[in-house]
């Protein structure tokens, strides 16, 4: 109770500061994110409470995150930055940071400490902070299966994705090398911790593609996060890889008949970056302080099953806002789910991404 009071006090203090600082001039913030259920969760957990406390601020959602780096580069080259805040992956954030097109973040000075006073840099999960990157969530790419597709034994591992003999049918995979090459090696017997070492060698890449070749004829590729559950729901595929939050939404909220396989889940962060030279940097910083505090991150988990990126938020994760089910077991980081995770290596993809993307594009077209 006292904790809660303290939080309310904190957040209202934050909004008071905002009120006095912004002097009531109407501000419109363009927030770029991933669209669909994900933007919806941000809308309800961050935007709506913030706008309620700051009536002069309007937040406009743009679902351009899939092409965020292209947009940032074009806007920055042109010296005309129209985006205020962008939700992006840490690998892209690192590139943008190296190119100087997004702002460097002093996490302790700019972000709220945990309720117990732990500074932000220690409260966010280890390894999640980037020079320009403020993590929001831990998400994972997982495999989902339509139970109706098989009689008897159900698939329960990544190896089963590559097992056409026992589990025939179409598979929906994302149309990029990331996650697919890791899984191919994992299914081929490489231990999760060795995957990137193997993938850094030409033989390792050949091995991964050879493994993918075995199921190539059965693959349908998807591009946007929402397509994967759609393909499962339409019965177009038996397996689909996808983001765990989208799958949760499709299964629990929309009642899709599918099961999540947590084996070999590929874990990654996702978070905010602030474009350099944006029109409303001060207003954005105020919003960010609010939207990345302990309570807000825990709140987001009420709407979508992504794990909050702050250690102090974990205890506050409660029940789904509409369904009333416990969210903790649906988090990728729940112990029952986190038994064989592969942690996505952004440095690897920054270095080898250009070459592997070309090769993957070639492979898809063959």
């Amino acid at each position: 109770m006292t904790k809660k009071l303290k939080l309310i006090a904190l957040s209202s203090a934050a909004s008071m500061i905002a009120l006095s600082a912004a002097a009531q001039d109407p501000v419109s913030l363009t927030v770029v994110s991933w669209g669909g259920a994900y933007t919806e969760s941000q809308q309800r957990a961050y935007h709506e409470p913030y706008m309620a406390a700051n009536p002069h601020v309007t937040i406009i959602n743009d679902d351009g995150s899939a092409n965020a780096l292209a947009g940032l580069r074009a806007q920055s080259q042109a010296g005309n930055v129209t985006w205020d805040l962008v939700d992006m992956l840490p690998s892209d954030a690192q590139l943008a940071c190296d190119e100087g097109i997004i702002l460097e973040i002093d996490h302790d000075a700019m972000l709220a400490p945990a309720p117990d006073g732990t500074p932000a840099s220690e409260d966010f999960l280890p390894g999640s902070l980037g020079d320009c990157f403020i993590p929001q969530i831990v998400y994972s790419t997982i495999l989902a299966v339509r139970p109706g597709a098989f009689e008897g034994e159900q698939p329960d591992s990544i190896a089963d994705l590559f097992d056409l003999e026992n589990f025939p049918g179409k598979r929906a995979l994302q149309d990029r090398p990331g996650t697919n090459l890791e899984w191919a090696l994992y299914a081929d017997g490489v231990a999760p911790e060795d995957i990137y070492d193997v993938l850094a060698t030409p033989e390792g890449v050949d091995r991964a593609f050879a493994k993918l070749d075995t199921i190539k004829d059965e693959i349908i590729f998807w591009t946007e996060g929402a397509q994967a559950p759609q393909l499962l729901a339409d019965g177009e595929v038996a397996f689909a890889t996808g983001y765990n939050g989208r799958m949760f939404n499709a299964i629990e909220v929309e009642g899709m008949d599918a099961a999540i396989v947590w084996d070999g889940q590929i874990v990654e962060w996702d978070g905010w970056v602030v474009p350099a030279g944006g029109p409303n940097v001060d207003a954005v910083m105020d919003y960010l302080r609010f939207a990345t505090d302990t309570q807000r991150l825990a709140d987001q988990a009420k709407f979508i099953s992504y794990g909050p990126a702050r250690a102090s938020s974990a205890a506050l994760v409660g029940q789904h806002a509409d369904l009333g089910i416990d969210m903790a077991p649906h988090m990728p980081t729940a112990p029952a789910n986190y038994y064989s995770p592969i942690v996505l290596d952004n440095d690897f993809w920054a270095d080898y991404g250009d070459e592997l993307r070309e090769r993957f594009a070639n492979w898809m077209l063959q």
Binding site: T30, I60, D63, A74, Q77, A78, T82, T223
Partner: protein
């Protein structure tokens, strides 16, 4: 229909077979568009006819997808944007295009072929290339992700149609009419509005309609140049198809088909009126 008496059996079979083939092709052209109309009243979130629909059970039908569409801020904004951008782009391209057509149809016009080539190039260059070029250039001059940017882009894409239709009207245009008017003391402005304009009006209007539909239907440039506040109907449909394709798309599609029928009717009436006015009776 009676066939000529000298037709052999083979001729007759071929005569009817040919008609069957032709109507099959007309069916191929129309059926996909028309089939969406009943499906948009589906009570279930499926893209196919349910048992209730086939048995004409009223419970199989509903207006829920239309309610979805009308109650959605994103769709409503996209309608406003589509008309706003379409009308602005049409005014711009019709004005510029009509003037240019008047110039181009003068015998004294130098370098006609080259200029015509440049002016209709927006129609020839693949859209992805136009869109990519505009994406980079509009960012530099600060009109990317603005209404102005999208209007300019769409006006550029629409002008070739105006130039072509108005030029075509001017082919049958009798220049002695304007000369006669001038001799009788009409000022150039009076001359234009009293003589030229009424005669080329059908061409101008159908050019304008082409320019409007070009903008109204355009998506590639919008994908590259527009921001979230300039989303048009095709842009919303693009997201809808790629993300979660729900029958709301079909409701929108049905409304768009009705709009195209209206536009088609107007163009057809104009064409006939134009032919009558220029004394070119349909053969």
């Amino acid at each position: 229909m009676s066939l000529p008496a000298y037709y052999t059996t083979k001729d007759k079979v071929w005569h009817y077979a040919f008609r069957v083939i032709c109507f099959a092709i007309f069916f191929f052209l129309l059926a996909p568009i028309l089939i969406m109309i009943p499906l948009s009243f589906n009570a279930q979130p499926y893209f196919t006819f349910t048992r209730e629909m086939l048995t004409l059970n009223p419970e199989g039908y509903s207006l829920r997808w239309y309610q979805d569409f009308l109650g959605d801020d994103g769709w409503m904004r996209s309608i406003r944007n589509s008309f706003l951008i379409g009308i602005a782009a049409t005014i711009l391209s019709t004005t510029l295009g009509t003037l240019a057509a008047l110039g181009l149809s003068r015998a004294e016009m130098p370098a006609k072929g080259l200029i015509m080539g440049i002016l209709i190039s927006p129609m020839i260059v693949p859209l992805i290339i136009s869109a990519a070029g505009m994406f980079f250039f509009f960012s530099q001059i600060n009109i990317a992700q603005t209404f102005l940017g999208v209007v300019i882009a769409h006006a550029a894409l629409g002008t070739p149609f105006v130039v072509i239709t108005v030029t075509a009207t001017l082919v049958g245009f009798d220049q002695s009419l304007t000369r006669a008017a001038a001799n009788l003391g009409a000022s150039p402005t009076t001359n234009f509005f009293k003589i030229t304009m009424p005669l080329i009006l059908p061409g101008v209007i159908s050019g304008a309609l082409f320019a409007f539909i070009t903008s109204f239907d355009e998506i590639v440039v919008v994908l590259f140049v527009a921001g979230v506040e300039q989303r048009t109907i095709p842009r919303e449909m693009w997201s809808g198809i790629r993300e979660d394709i729900s029958p709301t798309i079909l409701a929108v599609a049905t409304i768009l088909v009705l709009i195209s029928i209206a536009l088609l009717t107007v163009v057809e009436l104009l064409r006939r009126r134009g032919e009558r006015l220029r004394g070119l009776s349909p053969q």
